[in-house]
């Protein structure tokens, strides 16, 4: 039982890290630019589709990954220039409407280009297979790779935000945007950079999971809701918060799903425990969100003055 618990903890952390990669971009855009981007999930989907296309055409996972990253960066820049920069000064409702429309347009576009059937991305030989943990339990190498890649990204973002000039601007922009502009920073160029970075992070997440998950036109919608839960828990605009929130959501969801019913059985009869467990499992992360918000209304790392 202890082994299983540790394994689920690892699974939860891995799922959380995946959520972090998508959430990091969203929280930057939302926190710094005060911009609600419902199309963020679609960028994640686009990353996976571009990965599928490039991996197939080049025959190499690594080349495909590099090309997909570059392509999502370009897509992010183009979308910012075409659509998003016209929406920064609009009220949130307009942003929601416009980005929701963009979400549908891109989803349909993906279907026209690649068809509605799910696609396959082959796993690189180097990262396939599984390693034994304890007894019959094994852990896939690729999931370890996802954890490593996610942690490296988190570390890179942390270094960028705390140690570089761009990071300083990011932090300044998150706390007081007009002041940053008044001090002579070209805010439109800066926003473009933030947005493209967010898009690339989402695309990277999509490309990274494409060998483990189904690459289909619905994949962006599924992750978007979870991502919003993550950034609300972590505090809007805080990358640190996104990391903590993502891990919390990933672990609560994974561990709670399996151990919830087992723990419930200790206090109630088995049939009722199984029933209650099933009802509670999909609600767990929302209960977590409600609990955290009642304790800290701005999220774990949110600023109290907004």
């Amino acid at each position: 039982m202890a082994n299983l618990f540790l394994l689920q903890l690892l699974n939860g952390a891995q799922f959380g890290i995946l959520l972090f990669l998508v959430a990091a971009g969203l929280t930057l855009v939302f926190g710094i630019m005060d911009f609600i981007n419902l199309a963020h999930g679609v960028l994640y989907m686009l990353g996976a589709y571009l990965m599928a296309m490039f991996a197939l055409s080049t025959g190499s996972f690594w080349l495909g990954l590099a090309l997909a990253l570059g392509a999502t960066l370009v897509v992010g820049l183009v979308l910012e220039w075409l659509v998003f920069r016209r929406l920064y000064d609009r009220p949130h409702l307009d942003q929601v409407l416009a980005t929701f429309a963009l979400m549908m347009i891109l989803s349909e576009g993906v279907k026209i280009l690649w068809g509605s059937a799910p696609l396959n991305v082959a796993m690189p030989e180097l990262l396939s297979g599984s390693v034994p943990l304890a007894g019959p339990l094994r852990y896939p190498v690729y999931r370890i790779a996802i954890i490593v890649a996610g942690l490296a990204t988190a570390l890179g973002l942390w270094a960028m935000i705390t140690r570089t000039r761009v990071g300083m601007l990011l932090r300044a922009g998150a706390s007081n945007r007009p002041m940053v502009a008044a001090l002579g920073t070209d805010i439109s160029k800066f926003f473009m950079l933030v947005f493209a970075l967010g898009a690339m992070l989402a695309g990277f997440a999509g490309a990274l999971v494409s060998p483990v998950l189904s690459v289909d036109p619905g994949m962006g919608d599924q992750i978007l809701i979870l991502t919003f839960v993550v950034i609300v828990i972590g505090g809007v605009g805080s990358v640190k918060g996104a990391f903590a929130g993502a891990l919390l959501v990933g672990i609560t969801d994974t561990v709670g799903r399996i151990f919830g019913p087992i723990w419930l059985k200790m206090v109630m009869d088995p049939a009722a425990a199984a029933q209650a467990g099933r009802v509670l499992a999909p609600m767990l992360i929302y209960l977590l969100m409600a609990a955290i918000l009642s304790w800290r209304p701005n999220g774990l790392f949110g600023r109290s003055t907004r």
Binding site: Q8, A117, P118, P140, V212, L213, I258
Partner: protein, 386 residues
Amino acid sequence: MMKSTMTALALGATALAPLSALAEPVKVGVLMTLSGPPAVLGEHARDGALLALKTLGGTLGGQEAEFIIADAEGKPDIAAQKARRLVESDGAAFVIGPIFSNVMAAIAGPVTEGGAFLMSPNAGPSVFAGEGCNPDIFVVSYQNDQPDQVMGEYANSAGYGSVVLIAPNYQAGMDHLGGFKRTYEGTVTTELLTQLGQLDYSAELAQIAAFQPDAVYAFLPGGMGVNFVKQYAQAGLSGIPMMSSFTTDETTLPAMQDAALGMFSSGSWAPDLDAPGNAEFVEAFVAEYGRVPASYAAYAYDAVMLMDAAIAEAGTEDRDALRDALKTVDFPTVRGKFAFGQNQFPVQDFYLTEVVQREDGAYATSAKELVVADYVDAYAGACAAE
């Protein structure tokens, strides 16, 4: 609104059949879910129907035919409106559709009360199989419970003493697991009920690894199945046999590829089923649409072939005669043999199918062995039609 009209012009048909040239073409509504994530299922069924029409030279029973395609959007209310429009405004005498059982419940009334026949290429819900059977509804596919019951039978004969079940926690998931449990006699180790649209199955896979059952039975349609099957292989569980329904078929295999090889499911048709005309159908489908047909395509193809044979026998003027012909006529089915039971659901053979890689590199299901012959669904007895 997605709606396109495909008028089939049979060149020279007027010269060959001067009498039918004066008649209105037979209008057929094709109502499938063609948008949203499950669109690929509807596309297979639509393409199967269109391929049949093309094979027949654009005619049904010698009469010129017009297929009108509409998107059910997976939404019962919208599908009902479109069904009404197809039957009442466009004058469709037949509606081929739908894919989903909840859509079927919504369009059955508008189609049959409007005076058209409903031909289902997939959905076969129990409500229309028993007391609620309707003489104007012909289910050309199977009754929904059957594929699961067949897998239960197979698990018995394969000697699997313990099985872990997994399905999403919603009505259809419960129904499919219920179908399996109705015939399976071994021990159900545990039932894993997951969230609809779940991405990550690592928690469930770890439990399966810990239980080490003789086999796993899954109902995880669409993207959920792709996620599960890929992660199943990566978690090193390939040693535990995986049986499923609506999880590993030609709509999802292109995304699963090697991860699904050797997994089992059941069906009354497979692309390599040894039946007259089946190889030609599959070859023509691959040539036309660039993918291996799934059962949705085969059943829609059969539905059109059935309509063709029935119209050739009884014409379209006398609706009662046409209904009788639909029920009893012999038609060239890609399943080898076909007969309707008293509830207009098929009585047919079911096979164990296994995922294989074809010679052209594509992945498909392959009929391995006959599991149950002339299978009658559990509800037919309660149907008092006749």
